[in-house]
Symmetry: C2
Subunit: 201 residues, 2 copies
């Protein structure tokens, strides 16, 4: 019987999740402290725990919200569209996600890196099922000779790896590029070329 949230509840829950995203994505679950999150959120620690039952619950809420955002672009890959354009579009949207939501990307990366202790079922269920479905679409396109024949799952991995790299390894990317660069603009051009050559039948 979930009674409706008051305006204050909505506002504060959001504030807390926003602050928690900041802190968790920068320090990992164990490295983040409730005091830090409270500080960033501008609330007292007991007040956080009035809105969420535990540190773990805050983290879990963030991950759950994240997953659907993360998978949406892949879901949008349309079996009825033009194959090369669809794959390119997916890559583009994923790169934009890295650019616009780097904290989310890092939160996800840290979770997977540490063995996905709080996301195992989601990874093994929802994500795996979606990839399997889209791999079938890609395979179909390959069988029709509309894109080059490749391992479709590893093709998806390559898009994940190449786009998330720019969010997750941001510090390294910027250090190596030096100043006066727009990493995401350059990455967009590079990846466009890469997939154009890779996918050409």
């Amino acid at each position: 019987m979930p009674r409706p949230m008051t305006r204050i509840q909505i506002r504060n829950s959001e504030t807390i999740l926003e602050a928690a995203l900041d802190v968790f994505s920068a320090h990992g679950f164990r490295g983040a402290t409730l005091d830090q999150i409270a500080e960033v959120a501008g609330l007292s620690k007991p007040n956080l725990l009035y809105y969420f039952p535990s540190k773990e619950a805050i983290h879990r809420t963030l991950l759950t919200r994240l997953l659907s955002t993360w998978l949406d672009p892949l879901r949008d890959m349309d079996a009825a569209g033009d194959p090369v354009a669809e794959v390119m579009g997916y890559m583009r949207r994923k790169l934009e996600l890295s650019r616009d939501y780097p904290r989310e990307s890092r939160l996800f990366a840290i979770e997977i890196l540490q063995g996905a202790p709080r996301m195992r079922e989601a990874i093994e269920g929802e994500l795996t099922a979606l990839v399997a479905e889209k791999a079938k679409v890609l395979q179909h396109w390959m069988d029709e000779g509309r894109i080059a024949r490749l391992d479709p799952v590893h093709l998806v991995f390559s898009i994940w790896a190449l786009t998330q790299h720019y969010a997750d390894f941001d510090v390294q990317v910027r250090a190596v590029l030096g100043s006066g660069h727009d990493p995401y603009a350059e990455a967009g051009a590079f990846l466009e070329t890469l997939y154009a050559r890779l996918l050409a039948p």
Copy 2:
């Protein structure tokens, strides 16, 4: 005046670093505890601190050792060799590093993800310099028309991203592939194709 290490010192230092690699790569710096490391090493906590002055020192030692191993394959890319073979060889060696030293890969990834708090200078110095040097070599090959014209730094990024993905996101890779797969063998074949098409002049 660093007096030579006794046999026991060498053995125990190694044991500790090995255990610490296990624990740090699985839980991050903050998430790892000295008790855990001591447990894995089969030593008492005060004994760890007899060999290393602090938790931080253990971590720092691991990172320092790691960096040179990590950069060696890139260093080996030979300006005098055959361009395509050299880039392919680098990719191969980097993939083997992911396969054979996944803990090291994850340790490094976690450090960069969190903003490289203990590796900043190494990233900005040694790594950046090496990439700049090798980018020049790649550029030269492109100017000679021996490999396709691409942004050389982003080409290096792509190798990092695509190879490290298999170590860092191992859980996800295995979940999505399901059983009965050899991720690294498949990745090797996929990446061979990818770079063959990308680099062809």
